[in-house]
Structures are given as C-alpha cells and as structure tokens.
C-alpha cells in the first residue's frame, strides 16, 4: 500500500510522521504549485470551491508518482466539504486511476469509530504501536505550531524579515526530518531560539486576527501567503484556528486537549446562535473574541462561493459595528495576480495604523 493525502498548511509534517510510524509507504503529494491548481481546475466542476480543486490536484500528482491509496477527511453539515471525498473519488475513477480511498469521518458519538476507520491503515502494527504513532505525530504538530506562533510574533517586529522567514522555513524542514522526540525537541528549541535572537525594531506592530474557512486560513498557497505579506507590512497576525484545534474538535472528540470551540460558540451569541456549517460560527465567535481582546482589526478569508463564510460575512458587519472592530473580507480563487489583494491589505493596515495613532494621541 502506497498512501497519500491532501496538503493543508504544515499538516503534512504530522501526517507523514503518523503514517510512517504505522509502517506504511508514504508518497506525499508534491508541494502545491501552479500545476496542482491547473490539474484541479481542469477536472473539477467549475463552481466548486478552491480547496476541492487543490485537493484533487494533490491526488492526481501523487497518484502519478505511484500512490495507490488516498487518505482523506470527511465531514458533515451544510458545508460542501463533507462531500469532497466522494466527489474526488468519482472524478479520479472517471479519469481512470486505480486506487483505494480511506475516508476518516468525524465520530458522531464514539471515538471507537475513529479507531475502526484507522484499522484499515494499521494492519502492519499493533494497537500499541498505532497509539504511539498518533502520539508522536501529535507531538510534532505541537512543535510545528509553537514555531508558527513564535514566527507570527517575531516576523512583524524583525528588522531583517528575510532572515526570520529563512529560519522559520528551515525550522519546519528540520522538524519534518526529525525521527524521534529528542530530534523534534532539538530542531524546535534551536530554531525557536534563533528566532528569539533576531534583532527587532522598537515599533509595536498592530495586531490583526485571521478568521475564516480553515483551509484558506492555514494553506499559504490558497491565500497568497497573506500572513507573510501582512508580516512584511509590520502586522502581527493571530490565526484563529490551528490544525491541532481542528483535529481535536473534529476527529479526536476533544480528547487531546481542552477545546477552545465552546468559548467561541459562546462569543458568537447573540450574533449567530447556531452552526451554519464549515467554520461560519467560529468565524463570528473569533471576531467577537478578537474585538474583546482589543485587537486592531480582523481579516476574514475564504474560498469564493464559500456558503458558511458568506453567512458569517453578513453577520460580521453588525459585529464590527457593535464590538467596534474593523473587519475586511477577502475571497480567494484561482487568480494569479496579487495586486488586488495587496492593495486591500495595504489599505486596511494603513487605516488601522492611522486609527491607532489617532487614538494614542487623544488619550
């Protein structure tokens, strides 16, 4: 069995670690590129959203490299994501590929369901080994996210932004290559320290919360590296969601760590009182949360035509007014030109900076 999976931000680091420790042959999809987009756009329904197209591109590229099994997540609720795996399987079969598809569905009631699904993958190992594989992957993910958070803090403050980016990229690579816990610790602490040692400018950056559909938030190729662009404009970006949150809430039944979701659901009231699919409810909740934490602004991102985010967007205008936090929404599609996005980001940060200076002056 040669297994592959879709990319999403830095998730591949943890997924690789888990699958390898389940003693499976892993064929990771090549990094998302223009070719991935082209393949996805060519074979997906035009009106489908961008994550589906990138997923499919990932799969085609991996299958061409010899993969024969695809690991994909399922889902439920009004978001189309729940149906992705099925649609992708159909399209790939129509294209003549021969493969198995393993779909991890979020357990509705019992975590044991998840283990049953994972059994198909764990044929080569004992339950104890499977548990250890999962634990190691989780450990790596924690370190990746530590590095992500440190980078998000240092990058906007760094005098030399290129150097911060290089250290971060290098750090991710080293964590990816780590074979055991002590390797992970070493790679992590070394690069965290290198980031800490970067010369920072005195100016305190403005802070923006990044909310929206998870894939667009987490995958730089799906959002034109918005976090990095903002960092270069001296803006500190706080991600409203991390991969570990999603895994914890949706696949692990909140067993791995304390869920932040309940807090966000509470925050969303009275603006939005029930789930609208995808991350619509979290988008509203996080925006309220950021406003109360005195962030300077919120940027909502999502793929064009994303229904849950459209619902959330229409709610955000009253959140913005009542909670006093400026919000901007950016939808992403397969455009290659970044000028429009850059303009909007610059204008938004300009506005927030001017506001901040004025408030500082009046106090």
């Amino acid at each position: 069995m040669k297994i592959t999976y879709p990319h999403m931000g830095n998730a591949h680091i943890a997924i690789n670690a888990m699958l390898e420790n389940l003693k499976l042959e892993v064929i990771p999809p090549p990094p998302i590129s223009k070719k991935t987009f082209e393949l996805g756009v060519k074979h997906c329904p035009e009106f489908a959203c961008m994550p589906l197209k990138i997923n499919l591109g990932n799969f085609i590229e991996a299958l061409e490299l010899g993969a024969d099994t695809i690991l994909m997540a399922g889902g439920w609720g009004p978001c189309r994501f729940g149906y992705y795996a099925q649609v992708e399987r159909d399209i790939l079969e129509d294209l003549g590929f021969d493969f198995e598809m393993v779909i991890l569905e979020a357990p509705d009631s019992r975590v044991s369901e998840l283990f049953q699904q994972l059994q198909a993958l764990g044929k080569n190992v004992s339950i104890w080994e499977a548990f250890k594989a999962l634990k190691f992957a989780w450990y790596k993910l924690q370190m990746v996210e530590k590095l992500e958070k440190k980078f998000a803090y240092i990058h906007p403050r760094a005098a030399d932004k290129n150097r911060a980016e290089d250290i971060y990229d290098q750090g991710l690579l080293e964590i990816e290559r780590a074979q055991d816990k002590s390797d992970v610790d070493e790679a992590g602490s070394k690069n965290l320290e290198r980031l800490d040692n970067i010369v920072i400018t005195g100016e305190e950056p403005i802070r923006i919360g990044l909310v929206g559909e998870i894939y667009t938030v987490l995958e730089p190729m799906a959002n034109y590296s918005i976090a990095r662009c903002l960092g270069r404009l001296n803006v500190e970006v706080d991600n409203s969601i991390y991969i570990s949150d999603w895994l914890n809430d949706h696949l692990l039944g909140s067993l791995a760590k304390k869920s932040h979701r309940k807090h966000l659901v509470k925050c969303a009231r009275p603006y939005l009182n029930y789930s609208v699919g995808g991350h619509g409810l979290e988008t509203v909740g996080s925006t309220v949360d950021y406003a109360r934490k005195k962030f300077d602004g919120v940027i909502q991102v999502g793929p064009l035509t994303c229904m849950p985010e459209i619902v959330a967007q229409s709610v955000l205008s009253s959140v913005s007014k009542d909670e006093g936090i400026p919000c901007m929404t950016l939808y992403f599609d397969e455009h290659a030109g970044t000028a429009g996005i850059q303009t909007r980001m610059e204008a938004f940060t300009d506005m927030l900076k001017r506001k901040k200076t004025l408030t500082a002056l009046t106090h």
Partner: protein
C-alpha cells in the same frame, strides 16, 4: 518653483498631476494606459513636462494605482501608496467634511467612509469587475456611442428601463433583449446607470451607512448619467470634485509633499534624463527554482535590471535592493 508629482497608474487610465507647496493643482494629464503602463509612465511624464514649459524642480514624487510599483521603478518615488489611502487624502483635501467617497475606476469600485478626515471603513468590489469603467466602456462601444456622449445621452431619458444589475453578463443580455424590443437607447443607457448603482450599493456598499456629504470620483464620475442615478437612488446630493478623474494622483502628490516636509529629506526622484532617455523594457520568464514555476517579471532600463517581481518566494524580488512598500 518647486513641485510635487503625483502619478496614478490604473488599469484603464494613467494620471499625472503637479501640485505646489500648498497642494494647488497646477497641471494634470489624464490618458489611457492602453495595456502598456511602462509606456504610459514615460509618455505621461513627457507630456506633463512639455505642458509646464521650462524648468520644473520636482521636490517629491508619489505613486498609486495598480501600477504604482512599476511607476516607482521608472520615476523613483518617495511614497508608494495604495489607491484607497490616496483617494481618501485627496477627497478630504478638497472637502474636509466629506463622509462618504464613491470611487469607480476602470477595474475597481470602492466605497470609503471617512470620519474626521480619516478612513474609518472601506470596501472594494470583490473578484468581479461588473459595474466598473471597463464594463461601461464595453457597452458604449457595443452601442456605438463614444464614452463621452454616454452621460449626456442617458440624461435625456424620461423613463429608464429596468435592467438586471446583479452581474455584468446578465446586465448585458438584459440590455440586448431590451434593445431588440425597441426601447429608446437613452432609456436603456439610464437603465444601465441605475442598475450599476444598485449593483454598487449591494455589492460594494453592503449595507454601509452612506452619509452626506458624498463625493463621487474616479474616471466614471465624468458620466453625468451615473451621478444622476446615484442622486435618485440615494436621495442625496452627490458632489463631483473638480479633479475627479485624477484624484488618485492628487492624493499621491499630497502624500509625497507631506512625506518630504515631515522628513525634510531630498527626493529619490530619478530625474529627466533617466526617465526620458533610457529604453524601458519588461520581460517575463518562468523561474525554475521550485515546482511552482512562478512567472517572474523583469523591468530593465537598457541592459540594467531595475526590478523583479511575481515570485512567491521573493527570491528574485529581493535580489535587487527593494524598497519596503506600504
């Protein structure tokens, strides 16, 4: 005399203005970009200098518009600013009490809400360019009327027809349908204006509170039909400022003046000889550095590479001392 140059390189038009120390507009040029921003920058600059006849001492340069970085490379700009900020600065210079700016350009339409002369909220059209200048241009040429005559013709209408304004493609097929039914052309034109206004208020405005005074600027503000449609639908007076078509450039010039005065520094303006004598070329190539194969653009003056951009990893972009933009 000392002047500040403001340049706005948009998708459809390229605008140049010279202002003095008091931000009075001395000269302006409005020309079509015609898909060649490099040529537009050079030509616009030349024409402006010819109009000024004589020695012009440029103390500062500001660029804006989607071609602002390109203009910066050719001219040497002290300030490179996005259009929102530039438009807001210019509008509040002429109308310090302005609360709402409606700006419709070639590819973008924007709404800017001001509070005490600073931007408090803004919105831009999303991925679709329906309802912007390019669409009006296209419809005018389909109906075989000059874009300059569009406004006056629309004003003649007594009974505008209803046209679906939700999407440019729908609007066009609706227009063709109405035209084939025999409706008078002025009623169709006015109907289109009203459809675009509704589209703008729904898609860009999205329920934002529009408060007077409302300033209407951008190339499309020259269209009297659209102004009237805004007034009819908003039930408010709409002001079109005197330099409505070059407001972005005016804003960029004012920002350059503020920057130079605040920092007391010399301009990085490259000077007459650099701009008019050299041969500027742009070329693109596919970078083979990684599987993404970014299309990298290179701007050259004669044989010297001035700038690269278009690569996601910024390997090329940072290979030449590149100015931080903001």
């Amino acid at each position: 005399m000392s002047y500040y140059l403001g340049v706005d390189i948009g998708s459809v038009s390229s605008n140049f203005v010279l202002i003095d120390e008091f931000s009075n507009v001395l000269e302006k040029i409005y020309m079509r970009t015609e898909g060649n921003p490099v040529k537009a920058v050079k030509q616009g600059y030349k024409e402006l200098m010819e109009k000024m006849k004589g020695n012009v001492n440029i103390k500062g340069v500001g660029t804006t518009g989607s071609g602002r970085h390109l203009a910066d490379i050719i001219l040497g700009a002290d300030v490179v600013k996005n259009e929102i900020t530039a438009h807001a600065v210019a509008a509040s210079f002429f109308h310090p009490d302005a609360r709402t700016i409606i700006e419709i350009g070639g590819q973008d339409s924007k709404m800017i809400i001001l509070q005490d002369a600073i931007v408090s909220d803004f919105a831009m059209n999303t991925v679709c360019a329906a309802g912007t200048g390019s669409f009006l241009d296209q419809q005018a040429s389909r109906l075989n009327i000059l874009i300059q005559d569009f406004g006056p013709a629309a004003l003649k209408s007594k009974q505008p027809v209803r046209i679906a304004g939700r999407c440019g493609v729908f609007a066009e097929s609706d227009m063709i349908h109405k035209q084939q039914m025999g409706y008078p052309i002025e009623d169709i034109l006015m109907g289109l204006c009203e459809a675009l206004v509704r589209n703008y208020l729904n898609n860009v405005g999205k329920g934002k509170k529009i408060e007077a005074p409302v300033i209407f600027q951008g190339g499309v503000a020259a269209n009297a039909g659209l102004k009237k449609a805004f007034e009819k639908i908003l039930q408010m007076e709409i002001k079109v400022p005197p330099y409505h078509d070059v407001m972005g450039a005016v804003g960029a010039a004012i920002l350059a003046r503020e920057y130079i005065e605040e920092h007391g520094c010399a301009s990085v303006f490259k000077g007459d000889a650099f701009i008019t004598e050299g041969q500027f070329n742009s070329s693109s190539f596919e970078c083979k550095g990684c599987p993404n194969m970014c299309e990298v653009v290179c701007i050259k003056r004669d044989k010297e590479a001035l700038a690269y951009w278009g690569d996601r990893c910024k390997m090329w972009e940072t290979s030449i001392g590149h100015k931080e933009v903001g």
